[in-house]
C-alpha cells in the first residue's frame, strides 16, 4: 500500500480524476485533468508544479565525502564546485549502470544524491574505507519541481535568492517565503525549471506559496503523464523503462553501460580508479555494442499506413513505454523503449536502443506499428536528442 507524500493534502484535493500511480512507495498523481494537454501546455508555456518527493535522496557528509562519491560515481564529483549540481550515473565493477541521478554539492563536505532506485545499500557498502556519513533523507525532505518558462518569474515572488546568479545546474540555499530550503536549477522536463528541497513539514507551506504567486503566471500542478511526455522531448532516459539497472536486470543482456545509454559524457576516465573504471576504459577502447538514440517516426508514412485501413492516424496522447521492435532492412536491430507524440514539435518520437552500426544520425530504420491488430512498419529516422531544446533552458 503506497504512502501519501507530505503534499498529499494538496495534491489529493486537486486530483479530481483519481488518476494515481505508485512511485517509489508513494501515491503520485498521473494527471489532474482528463485533458492532459492543459498540464503539458502549462509546463511549456507558463509553469507547472509537480511533487517529486518520492525521489530517493541521500545526504553524504564527512571529510571524505568528495573522495568517496568520486569513487562511486562515474563523474569526478570532487571537481564539482560548491553550489553546483551534476547529472551522472553509477556503475558496478563491470561498468554496467546501476542507476542515474543527480549529485549536488551543498558544502565542501556535504553532497546530496538523488536516485530512481534505493541506493543506501550500494553507497554504504562502498563507504567502508571512507570517513563519511550516509543519511537516507528520502522521507525527511520534500521536493517540488517548478518547471516552465514562467518558473523564474514565480520564484522571484517566493524566494530571496538572486535568481540571475543561479545558472543551469546551479544551487543555492535560500528561504522560500520564510521557509529554509535548497533551490536547484534542475528538472526532468528539458525546460527552464527549478527544483525546491525543503523539510517535509514545510512542504505544504511551500506549495501554497508557489500556487498563490503562480496564479498570475499560468501555473498549474501537473502529473507524471505530462512529465513523461516532457522528458522524452528532452531526450532523458528513465530507469526501469529505457534501461534496466544492473541490480534489477535478470540477465547480462539486460544491462547497459554508460556509453550504450548515451551517458559517455558523464564519465571521467582520466583520474584515479573508480567503480567500473577498468571496464569502462576497455569499452571506450573497443567501442560499445549498443547506442541509445532518438527516433523521428515518419508521419507521412503513418498517415498513409492508416489510410490503407480507412482510418485517420490514431495516436494516444500519452507517452508509451512498451518495448517495440526496430528493424533495418527487415532484420531486427534493436527496440524502442518509450515514445510520445510531441504536441509542440508535431512529431512522433521515440527513444530506442539500436546496434551501434545503425545509430548514426540520419540512418533510416523501420519501427513496428500495429494498426487494426496487424503488425506493420513505418520508417523512423535516427535524430539527435534532445528533440526539444529551448534556449530558455540555459538562459
Amino acid at each position: 500500500m503506497p504512502l501519501p507524500t507530505p503534499l498529499h493534502p494538496r495534491t489529493s484535493a486537486l486530483c479530481v480524476t483519481y488518476l494515481w500511480k505508485e512511485w517509489a512507495g508513494y501515491h503520485a498523481v498521473r494527471a489532474y485533468s482528463t485533458s492532459p494537454e492543459r498540464e503539458y501546455n502549462a509546463v511549456r508555456q507558463g509553469a507547472g508544479l509537480i511533487d517529486v518527493t518520492p525521489l530517493y535522496k541521500y545526504d553524504v557528509t564527512g571529510e571524505d565525502a568528495a573522495a568517496f562519491l568520486s569513487r562511486v560515481m562515474v563523474r569526478d564529483v570532487a571537481e564539482l564546485k560548491i553550489g553546483r549540481v551534476a547529472y551522472l550515473c553509477w556503475c558496478d565493477d563491470d561498468g554496467k549502470v546501476i542507476d542515474d541521478g543527480t549529485c549536488a554539492r551543498l558544502a565542501p563536505n556535504h553532497y546530496r544524491v538523488t536516485a530512481a532506485a534505493p541506493a543506501y545499500h550500494w553507497l554504504s557498502h562502498n563507504a567502508a574505507r571512507f570517513r563519511v556519513t550516509i543519511e537516507d533523507t528520502s522521507a525527511k525532505l520534500a521536493a517540488l519541481a517548478l518547471q516552465g518558462p514562467m518558473s523564474r518569474h514565480i520564484l522571484r515572488h517566493v524566494c530571496d535568492a538572486d535568481l540571475d546568479a543561479v545558472k543551469f545546474f546551479g544551487l543555492v540555499e535560500t528561504r522560500f517565503d520564510g521557509v529554509h530550503g535548497v533551490l536547484t536549477r534542475t528538472g526532468y522536463t528539458g525546460d527552464l525549471g527549478y527544483e525546491l528541497w525543503v523539510q517535509s513539514e514545510q512542504a505544504l507551506a511551500l506549495w501554497d506559496s508557489l500556487m498563490m504567486h503562480g496564479r498570475d503566471y499560468g501555473l498549474e500542478p501537473f502529473g507524471l503523464d505530462t512529465l513523461d511526455i516532457c522528458r522524452i522531448e528532452a531526450g532523458f532516459i528513465l530507469h526501469g523503462v529505457d534501461y534496466h539497472g544492473a541490480h534489477q536486470a535478470l540477465t547480462e543482456a539486460q544491462k547497459s553501460t554508460p556509453l550504450e545509454l548515451g551517458l559517455g559524457w558523464t564519465v571521467t576516465l582520466e583520474r584515479g580508479p573508480f567503480i567500473g573504471s577498468r571496464a569502462l576504459a576497455a569499452e571506450r577502447e573497443r567501442g560499445q555494442k549498443w547506442d541509445l538514440v532518438g527516433l523521428d517516426i515518419d508521419w507521412q508514412a503513418t498517415e498513409e499506413l492508416y489510410d490503407q485501413y480507412g482510418l485517420p492516424p490514431a495516436l494516444s496522447m500519452a507517452a508509451w513505454r512498451t518495448p517495440i521492435p526496430v528493424y533495418r532492412k527487415g532484420r531486427q536491430v534493436g527496440r524502442a523503449s518509450s515514445g510520445t507524440w510531441s504536441p509542440l514539435l508535431k512529431k512522433n518520437l521515440a527513444l530506442a536502443t539500436v546496434q551501434a552500426d545503425c545509430s548514426a544520425v540520419g540512418t533510416v530504420l523501420d519501427i513496428e506499428m500495429t494498426v487494426e491488430w496487424e503488425r506493420r512498419t513505418v520508417p523512423a529516422t535516427v535524430v539527435k536528442t534532445p528533440f526539444f531544446d529551448p534556449a530558455r533552458k540555459k538562459s
Binding site: T34, R38, Q45, W299, Q300, K346
Partner: protein, 529 residues
C-alpha cells in the same frame, strides 16, 4: 549594382514567408518585401498598449499544416501552439453551454438541453471525421485543372475520382449535402437544440458575408473537423506570444535558410515587359529584379493594383473583379485590468480558456445577418472571444489580460459608403462591448485600452481588400480549382514569371500556410526559377 534574386515575394504575411522559406530551402535566393514595419500581415502581434500584446487580426491558428511545422523546424524557431479545447457559449438567462474536451462532460452539458442531441453529438463528430478524412488531402494538394490533359494533373484527378468512388453512399450523400445546404439546415437534420446548433453553426459563416441560413455555408463546418483529424495534432489553437509569433517563427526559419527580409518596403508596381514580370519597384523608387515575382497579397490588389489593367485581358480583369471579397467582420482587442466574470459561469476555469461564442440562438445569428444585408453592422453581433493571457501569461502583465473579440457582422459596404466606417468606428466598438457586457457585466470597468478594427481599417492598415480576412470568401464557387479564377488556380497568373501564394489561392484563408507551401512546391516543380 542592383541586386538580383531568384524570387521576390511581395508581402511578409505568413504565406509569403512560408513560400520564401521553402524556396530558400531549395537553394534559391529570395527577397521578401513587407509594406508595414512589422512582419505577419494579418497574423501579427502588436503591443499597442504597454505590456499587452494583441493578436491584432487573426487570433487562432487554424489548421497550420503540421508538415510545415516539421519541415521548417518552427518549434526551434519559437513556435508553440496551445490547443483550444473548450467551447463556451454563454447565455443571459440560464447556464449556457460548454463543450469540454471530456466527451462525457460534454454529453451531460448537452443533455441539459436535449437528451437526444447529447447522444447524437459524438455520432455527428464521427460522421464529420469520415467526410473530413476524404476532404483533408485536398488541402495539401495543388489543384488539378479539370480541363488539362497533362499527365500529372490527369493522375491527380484520377486519384481524387478514386477517393470519391471509395466513399460509401451515406458519406457521399452527406458530402453533397454539405456542399449545397446551409449550416442551419444541415444541423437541423441532426440536432434539435438551439443552444447547441447556434454555436456550432457559426463556423460556417466566419469571414463570410452570408448567414447561417444561406445555402453553401454547411461546407465550412467541415474545416472545423479537419482540425480534429489533425488529431493528436490539434491544429486549432493559440500561438504563444500571439499569432504574430507564428510569422516571426517562420521569418526566423526563412532567415536561417538565407531569405532576405525587408520591412517598410511597400511595393508600388510589379515591373512588366511584354506580359512578363521582371521585378518590382518600391514606392521610393528602388527597383529589384528577379526571375520570379510571387505575390502574397490578395488577387484584387495583385492584379488591379500592382499589375494594372493595361497588362491584362478584359475577361481576366472581369473575373478578378467578380472574385468576391466582401469583408463582413471586425475585431475589437481589449487590455483588461482584471478578468471579469461571466454571469452564467463565474471564475477563470477551463471554460473561459477556450473559445467563447456569443451565439445564443439561431435566430440571434440570422437577425445579426439581416442588418448586415442592408449595410448596417449588427446591433447584436455574433462574437467570438478568446482570452489568450489565461493560457499564455507572456501576452499580458501578471494578473491582467488581453481579450480578443472577433465580430460579425460588420459589412465593408455600409449603406452610406465604406469610408463612413471612420465615423462609426468607436460607436461600433461600443456596440461590441455592450453586447459582451450583457453576459459579462464587469467588462466595461475592467477595460484599460481598446482597439477597434472595422473592415475599412483592415483594408487601409492591413491591406486586406474590402477587409476580407480570407483574401476572398471561402464559398465553394471560390475554392479548389476555382480559386481565385478558373484556369489560374495553380499559383500561376496570365503574367509570365508572376505567381501567387496568398490566401486568395488554394486552399484559402486561415493561418494554414498551405497556399505558401504549395506555391513554392509548384514554382520549384515547374522550374520557374
Amino acid at each position: 549594382m542592383m541586386k538580383s534574386y531568384d524570387a521576390i515575394v511581395i508581402g511578409g504575411g505568413h504565406n509569403g514567408l512560408v513560400c520564401a522559406a521553402y524556396l530558400a530551402k531549395a537553394g534559391r535566393r529570395v527577397l521578401v518585401l513587407e509594406r508595414r514595419y512589422v512582419l505577419g500581415g494579418a497574423a501579427v502581434t502588436e503591443e499597442l498598449y504597454p505590456g499587452f500584446k494583441y493578436s491584432v487580426c487573426s487570433y487562432v491558428v487554424s489548421l497550420l499544416r503540421p508538415h510545415i511545422i516539421r519541415d521548417l523546424e518552427l518549434a526551434r524557431h519559437g513556435l508553440e501552439i496551445l490547443p483550444l479545447e473548450c467551447s463556451f457559449s454563454p447565455h443571459i438567462d440560464g447556464p449556457g453551454l460548454v463543450r469540454w474536451p471530456d466527451p462525457e462532460q460534454t454529453r451531460r452539458e448537452i443533455a441539459a438541453y436535449s437528451q437526444r442531441d447529447a447522444d447524437i453529438y459524438p455520432l455527428f463528430g464521427r460522421a464529420m471525421m469520415q467526410i473530413a478524412r476524404w476532404v483533408k488531402p485536398i488541402i495539401d494538394m495543388v489543384p488539378p485543372d479539370p480541363t488539362s490533359f497533362r499527365l500529372g494533373q490527369v493522375r491527380d484527378l484520377f486519384h481524387l475520382g478514386r477517393r470519391i468512388r471509395d466513399l460509401d453512399d451515406q458519406t457521399l450523400a452527406r458530402l453533397v449535402k454539405m456542399m449545397t445546404m446551409s449550416a442551419a439546415d444541415f444541423l437541423d437534420e441532426w440536432f434539435e437544440s438551439d443552444a447547441l446548433k447556434a454555436p456550432m453553426s457559426v463556423s460556417g459563416i466566419i469571414g463570410t458575408y452570408l448567414g447561417v441560413r444561406s445555402p453553401g455555408t454547411a461546407y465550412v463546418l467541415l474545416h472545423h473537423y479537419m482540425g480534429e483529424i489533425d488529431g493528436a495534432f490539434r491544429a486549432w489553437g493559440l500561438s504563444r506570444g500571439g499569432t504574430g509569433q507564428i510569422s516571426l517563427a517562420i521569418a526566423s526559419a526563412a532567415r536561417s535558410l538565407g531569405v532576405e527580409i525587408r520591412t517598410e518596403a511597400p511595393v508600388a508596381k510589379i515591373l512588366i515587359d511584354d506580359k512578363t514580370a521582371s521585378g518590382v519597384v518600391l514606392e521610393d523608387g528602388t527597383e529589384y529584379r528577379a526571375k520570379a515575382v510571387v505575390s502574397a497579397v490578395d488577387p484584387h490588389r495583385t492584379f488591379l493594383g500592382l499589375v494594372g489593367f493595361e497588362h491584362l485581358d478584359d475577361d481576366f480583369v472581369a473575373q478578378v473583379r467578380r472574385f468576391r471579397m466582401r469583408g463582413s467582420s471586425g475585431k475589437v482587442n481589449l487590455a483588461l485590468d482584471r478578468l471579469p466574470d461571466f454571469t452564467c459561469r463565474p471564475g477563470d476555469g477551463l471554460h473561459v480558456r477556450g473559445d467563447i461564442a456569443v451565439a445564443p440562438s439561431m435566430e440571434y445569428l440570422e437577425r445579426a445577418y439581416d442588418e448586415a444585408k442592408y449595410g448596417m453592422y449588427s446591433r447584436r453581433p455574433y462574437l467570438n472571444v478568446v482570452i489568450p493571457s489565461l493560457t499564455d501569461p507572456s501576452v499580458a502583465p501578471p494578473g491582467k489580460h488581453v481579450m480578443s473579440i472577433f465580430v460579425q457582422y460588420a459589412p465593408y459596404h455600409l449603406a452610406d459608403g465604406a469610408e463612413m466606417w471612420t465615423d462609426k468606428r468607436e460607436q461600433f466598438g461600443d456596440t461590441v462591448v455592450e453586447t459582451l457586457a450583457e453576459y459579462c457585466p464587469g467588462l466595461k470597468e475592467a477595460i484599460l485600452h481598446r482597439q477597434v478594427l472595422t473592415p475599412w481599417d483592415l483594408e487601409q492598415e492591413m491591406g486586406l481588400t474590402e477587409g476580407n480576412i480570407f483574401h476572398g470568401e471561402l464559398g465553394l464557387e471560390q475554392l479548389f480549382f476555382l480559386r481565385p479564377v478558373p484556369g489560374w488556380a495553380r499559383y500561376r497568373t496570365p503574367i509570365r514569371r508572376l505567381w501567387m501564394c496568398g490566401s486568395g489561392t488554394h486552399p484559402g484563408g486561415g493561418v494554414m500556410g498551405a497556399p505558401g507551401a504549395l506555391a513554392a512546391q509548384t514554382l520549384l516543380e515547374e522550374r520557374a526559377l
